[in-house]
């Protein structure tokens, strides 16, 4: 294989040029495999967090179960998923579901804390003005919880980018494949280009997704920055 390129082993540039189609498709699947679980996790965490904020007895089990879920190694979860879901081992659905579980484990508690942190006088005043409970949740509690929830989302989205890469080791096509390739091509001595490309793209993807969350947060919370400079 090296001989085909003539001379020494190909560098990063050659590696990228000869594999760009593959790399792009891995980048794309890596992106949606990271983002979709965060969205699913958020949708599931909102009602769970709400329940925990509203009924105090829900909170301790939620925190404990969330913590336990997070200690399950992701690889184990990817491998177990097919037998739980009845899917094929390489089905990306396994990754989506497993990462959604992690996201819920992280975010449900964040949502509960955020909803519980609405200042008492604001909550009282809102009730006294005649908001019904659902109205208060949607128009007061949730908007005020946004900064805390988005902080949780930033952690979740970045964690997911790195967790998705692990799924590459079991053959799911995404940027993790680059590490597997790099490992396989290193049998005659270290061969770094795919690993370098993989690391750079993972970090870049994490930064971009993090930025997206920050932009959304800023758009939803104009009062925080205006309020700061009186």
């Amino acid at each position: 294989m090296n001989a085909a390129a003539g001379g020494g082993p190909p560098g990063v540039v050659e590696y990228v040029t000869s594999h760009h189609a593959e790399i792009l498709s891995w980048l794309w699947s890596h992106t949606w495999l990271s983002v979709v679980p965060v969205l699913i996790g958020l949708v599931v965490s909102l009602p769970l967090g709400y329940l925990a904020a509203r009924h105090r007895w829900v909170y301790p089990p939620l925190v404990t179960v969330g913590g336990l879920l997070y200690t399950i190694p992701s690889l184990a979860l990817f491998v177990v998923m097919p037998s739980i879901l009845g899917t094929r081992i390489l089905d990306p659905v396994n990754v989506v579901v497993a990462l959604s579980v992690y996201t819920v484990a992280l975010l449900a508690r964040v949502v509960a804390d955020a909803l519980g942190a609405v200042p008492e006088d604001v909550a009282q005043a809102a009730t006294a003005m005649g908001y019904t409970s659902p109205q208060r949740l949607l128009k007061v509690d949730l908007p005020l919880a946004v900064p805390v929830i988005t902080a949780g989302l930033r952690v979740a989205v970045v964690a997911n980018v790195s967790l998705v890469a692990i799924a590459g080791t079991i053959g799911v096509p995404e940027l993790g494949q680059l590490f597997t390739n790099g490992f396989q091509l290193s049998s005659d001595g270290p061969y770094y280009p795919p690993i370098v490309v993989g690391v750079v793209l993972c970090v870049a993807l994490a930064l971009v997704l993090d930025l997206v969350v920050v932009v959304v947060d800023r758009a939803l919370t104009p009062w925080l920055r205006k309020g700061a400079r009186t």
Binding site: D121, V122, A128, M129, G130, W223, K226, T230
Partner: protein, 379 residues
Amino acid sequence: MITFESVTKRYPGGTVAVDQLDLEAPTGKTTVLVGPSGCGKTTSLRMINRMIEPTSGRVLIDGADTSAVSPARLRRGIGYVIQHSGLLPHRTVVDNIATVPLLLGVDRRTARARSLELLERVGLPQEMAKRYPAQLSGGQQQRVGVARALAADPPVMLMDEPFSAVDPVVREQLQNEFLRLQSDLGKTIVFVTHDIDEAVKLGDQIAVMRVGGTLAQVAGPSELLARPVDAFVAGFVGRDRGYRALGFTTVPSSVPVEREETVRLGESLTTARDRLAHGWVLVVDAEDRPQGWLSEHSVRSARDDLVTPDALNLGGTLATVRGSLRELLDAALSSPSGRGVVTDGQGHLLGTISPAAAVRLIEEHGSTAADAAGRGETA
């Protein structure tokens, strides 16, 4: 009218916060609930809008049982103001004020127009409309809180220590504006405070509560100061209540003022020196409005040739013929010259009065406390 009918609130855990309360808050008047910390004022107030449900008894508004309407609907018809404004931090001032009208289904444009009107009504400039609550001072936030409570023009207002978290100067301003607004609007108000001075100033009727949630006395402010029913109320209304009671008697238009020689701002110091009486001369502006006192010392040591504002002693308070005997006596006692300045309603000088003459006037026109003492009713 708001009516408490033997209302009791027992919290889980056994604390009886309010015990068999019977009370009427008359329509269009301000009823103040006052009493030591923990006596059940907030609990009583919140049972009116059902933020707290009574354990037993009923609360009626204009004869209708409040438990017959849904809490949210009931509350939209009751303005509510609390100590730390409770403004929604994520909404601009104008949207905060529009909250209840929007909940009631008023369209956004109308609700905003009304908000801007109210902003002005509570003495805030329209530029503040687009600010967020965190961009306002504490006093401004309280004003917005009052505007918000008024937005849907509710007949009933509940206010829980609305002015107690601001500094004394702002508090006094807010109290005065409360009085001005209330004389325009005539809402049925229940106002909670633990400050007896505030109660006396703002209340048409004052209900003094004692710890355990029972009523000690319900009376108008002058009656309360003059005739506390027992030692608890007497202790609560305080030591200088005789002096405070003077606040309820108006200075008669026949107040015996002495003519006072004055000097105008901008006149020469020589003129000022000629008009000194017992070491002081009163300085007025071109329209005869008192500006301050000039002492013999500053007349002699001044470097200018003319009377300028910065040489004035601003120590004394002013009394007006429409004001109270309390202000009159205070003007006499606080004046650096020992002569209290009295003005007409427009701020023009009428003359001065000595503390002795002020006291004679009080004796003639009677303070309520002395009256009550005369009738053998003291604490």
